[in-house]
Structures are given as C-alpha cells and as structure tokens.
Amino acid sequence: MLTPLREIIQYRSLLRDLVVRDLKVRYKRSALGIAWTMLNPLLMMVVFTVVFARFLRFPIAHFTVYFLCAFLLWNFVSQTTSWSTACFLGYAPLIRKIYVPKTVLILSTVFSGLVNLLLALVPLALIMVLVGHPFTAKLAFIPIPLILTTLFALGLSLFLAPLCVMFTDIGQIYQVLLVAWMYLTPIFYPVEIVPSDYRILVDANPMTYFVEAFRAPIYRGVLPDGPTMIGATVFAVASLVIGWTLFQRYSERIAYYV
C-alpha cells in the first residue's frame, strides 16, 4: 500500500514530464497545436446542438451550455479510460527495458485528460458569455465534482489497464460499451424523458451522478442535491478502492505480457 505511494512521490518528475509530453506530442504536428483541445469541443457542440436543439427540438433553454458542460465531463472520463486501455502496450518498449512504477504511467494518462478538460472549460465559459448564461457564485463548487470524477476515472483506468494487457480485445469491447454508456447518461437529454421502466439503468449509472454534480452549479446555478453528492462520492471511492487493489496485485505481471 505504501510503496506505490512513496514511488509516486519519488517519480513526480516523471509524472509531470509524461503529462507535458503527452500534450506536446499529441498536437505537435498539427497546424493549430494545442488550440485543438479547445476547438474540438466547440465543433462537437455545434454538431450536437444542431441535432438535438434544432432537429429533435428538446425544450431546454440554453441547450449549448446544458449539453457542453456534461459532454466535456463525459469526454474526460471516456478519453482517459480509453487511453488507459492502450497505455501499457504504448509504453511496452519502456516497460520491457527499464523499471518504472506502473501507477505513475496510469496517473499520467488521467492527469493529461484532466488538463485537457480544464483547457476545454475556456470555450465553455466563452459560450456562456455568448448566449448570456448567468455566472453565479456557485461556480466555486465545481472543483468538488471534478475531483470526484477524476478519482472515478483513475479507479476505472487502474482496473482496465492490466486487463487490456492480458486480453487485447477488451479495448475493442470497451469502445462499444462506451457508446452505450454515453447514451445511458443524461448528457444531451433530461433525466425526466427516460421511461420509468428504464429509469434504473440511468440511476445505476455512476456517470449520471458526476454529470449532475458538475452541471448543477454551471447550468442551474445551484449546488447539487444530497442524493447526487452521496452517489458521486460512493461511486468515486468504490472505483478507486477496487481499481487500486486489483492494480497492485497484477501490475507486477505486466512486464511479462507486453
């Protein structure tokens, strides 16, 4: 339990370098560079806003804000967990030759996803100004859902990464699951439109709680209610405990499989 924590502290330079390198390398060869982290959500938002606000005519005021804040949070979880499925195979040349604490590699993918999310909050703020959405003091609450969502994504990544080394097609299965998972999360529709027979699927979905906890202060200008916060906390802690425990058990074997 303590050794991996001590190693994270010893290897903090590696953690920072991997996050910085991730951001640099990802956009190095594109003309617009890091601006893509902010452009990407904007373009996605245009697509979804046209489809859901214009074609399907969801009666949601300021749909762009309603959608975008949830979508950015979803994007963070789906991106970081997808990256983690390919993480160890990507670092295989390194893992086969030099000892590196494996926890640090997973942490770096989660942190670089988090940096991407924070950068994408800039265009969100811009959109809020453009559509005249009010900024309230409740916005100060958003670090809390951000931290809980990060812990959840970290736990899930720690769970998935060693599994994907042993069975490479888990990564493919996970991509399909992600699509289903996205549609089961109230990102572009309100929870109320879900028929009561299917409501259990949405209520059992951890992302429902994280999205709501993040959206309440931004979109509605209120603090999330008690059940939402309890759900988010329980799922975050459970994910981290399960992921961490399994990871420490299997991470020593990773060098044998990559």
Partner: protein
C-alpha cells in the same frame, strides 16, 4: 559487503501453446478445457551472491537467461519465485535510448530519461552540461531525436545513465553501437567506476570484453549457472570446443 544477493530465483514465462491473446479465444478454449500452457523457464532456481566492487561477466548461448538475469536485478521483471536483494544505486544499461521519445528534442529527452530513472528535475538541470559534453551533442541538442543517428542515440543514452556515480552498473551488450572512439570513452568511464569501487555486471558475447573488464565470470546455460569462477577459466571453458556441456561447475 554484498551488492546483489539472489536465492532460488525463478523466472517462468507461461506461453500458451497456441497463442491466445484475445478474450474471445480465451473464453472458447477455457470452456472446452483446452487451455494448454507451455512453461518457459528463463531462470531456474538461481542462487548467487555478488559482492561490492566485483566485476562479473555473464556469458552463455542465446536464450540461456543472461538478459533475464539483468532484468531481474534491474527490477524490470519481478521473479516468479525466490528472492532478490539489490543494495545501492543501480545504473541500468539494458538498452541505450530506451524510453526516448523520437518526437521530442535531445534536451527534452534528457529530462524525460532522467525522470524515468527516478531523478528530480532540479538534479537534471544541474547535470545537463556534463551529459551534453560527454555525449558530444551540443550542436544537435534542440533537434528532435528522430533525426539522430543510432550512434548518437546510444551516446546520449549512455551519457544520461552513467552521469550519476552508480553503485551497481548493469550492462547488456550495449557497447556494440557507436564508433570505436566512443566505445573507448565508454570503457574508460566504466573502468573509472570500477576503480572507485562500483560493482559491474556485464552481459557479453565477446570473450575479449569480458576478460578486459571482469574478474569473475558466470556461464549461464538453460537458465542455470553452469560455471562460476575466475573470468579466464570460465571463458576458456566456454569457448573450448572440447567441452560443449559442462557436467559440473568450474571451481
């Protein structure tokens, strides 16, 4: 004083007879009860002690377990069985330039590689000039590493890994790259470490390299120590065509 202590170290790779890499195949084979694994013993109950300041050459045929031994000492592989104790700061030269990112510049890679070895950024800032000077890469420091020649990559890798005075130096056939002049420079630096009391463990197929750098040699065969003793005796036994399979260890 002991530098490396191994007792009953076993490294076992389980290789499925038919390579099962997907979950689908695994599930199908498991249901049919047809999961057959072949075990590959890379190291088989190896026990050995290397004292501080010893210079040990590891020789043996391909697949005898030489590189696996170094990987176990370097903590890349945790053994399947047995125990390993390594005392002191290890400089692993298993492959020069492992962990370099070709898209990043030489300078950025120096910091990245230092971080991979668990060193802090401040320490690397201090060490940068010495590393660049030894690698002779002043003019190319800000060019991406993908534009480097393999010799330049090897020079940079060696310079970073050996810039810290190590207690234990692990070397796996890395001196084959680079020009003669740089090889001499590396050998000189390694002799310097040796003179100052560092432990050296070297894997090589070249009897001259082993005899030139090592006092003791270990002959590995099929994951076991086939012979252990003074470098000259073990190397002679190894290269001698009269004794292809030694029955017991050279004293």
């Amino acid at each position: 004083m002991v530098a490396i202590e191994m007792s009953d170290v076993t490294v076992r790779f389980t290789v499925p007879r038919e390579r099962v890499r997907t979950f689908k195949e695994f599930a199908i084979n498991w249901l049919r009860g047809r999961l057959v694994y072949e075990e590959l013993l890379a190291l088989s109950r190896v026990s050995l002690t290397i004292r501080r300041g010893e210079t040990v050459g590891i020789i043996g045929r391909n697949g005898a377990g030489k590189s696996t031994l170094l990987k176990v000492i370097a903590r890349v592989l945790r053994p399947t069985g047995g125990s390993v104790a390594v005392l002191g700061r290890v400089a692993p030269l298993l492959e020069l330039g492992a962990g370099f990112d070709p898209e990043l510049s030489g300078r950025e890679n120096i910091f990245l590689n230092g971080a991979i070895l668990g060193r802090s950024r401040r320490e690397m800032v201090r060490r940068l000039p010495g590393i660049v000077e030894f690698a002779e890469l002043e003019a190319f420091l800000d060019a991406p590493v993908r534009t480097y020649s393999s010799g330049m990559v090897a020079r940079l890798g060696f310079a970073i890994a050996t810039d810290v005075e190590p207690d234990i130096l692990l070397v796996d056939e890395v001196l084959a790259v680079g020009d003669i002049e740089f090889q001499q420079k590396c050998l000189e630096r390694m002799r310097g470490f040796r003179a100052r009391g560092a432990t050296l463990v070297l894997v090589s197929h070249s009897p001259e390299t082993v005899l030139g750098l090592c006092d003791r040699a270990l002959w590995f065969d099929a994951g076991r120590v086939a012979a252990d003793g003074p470098a000259r005796e073990v190397v002679e036994a190894y290269v001698s065509p009269k004794v292809p399979q030694p029955a017991h260890a050279v004293s």
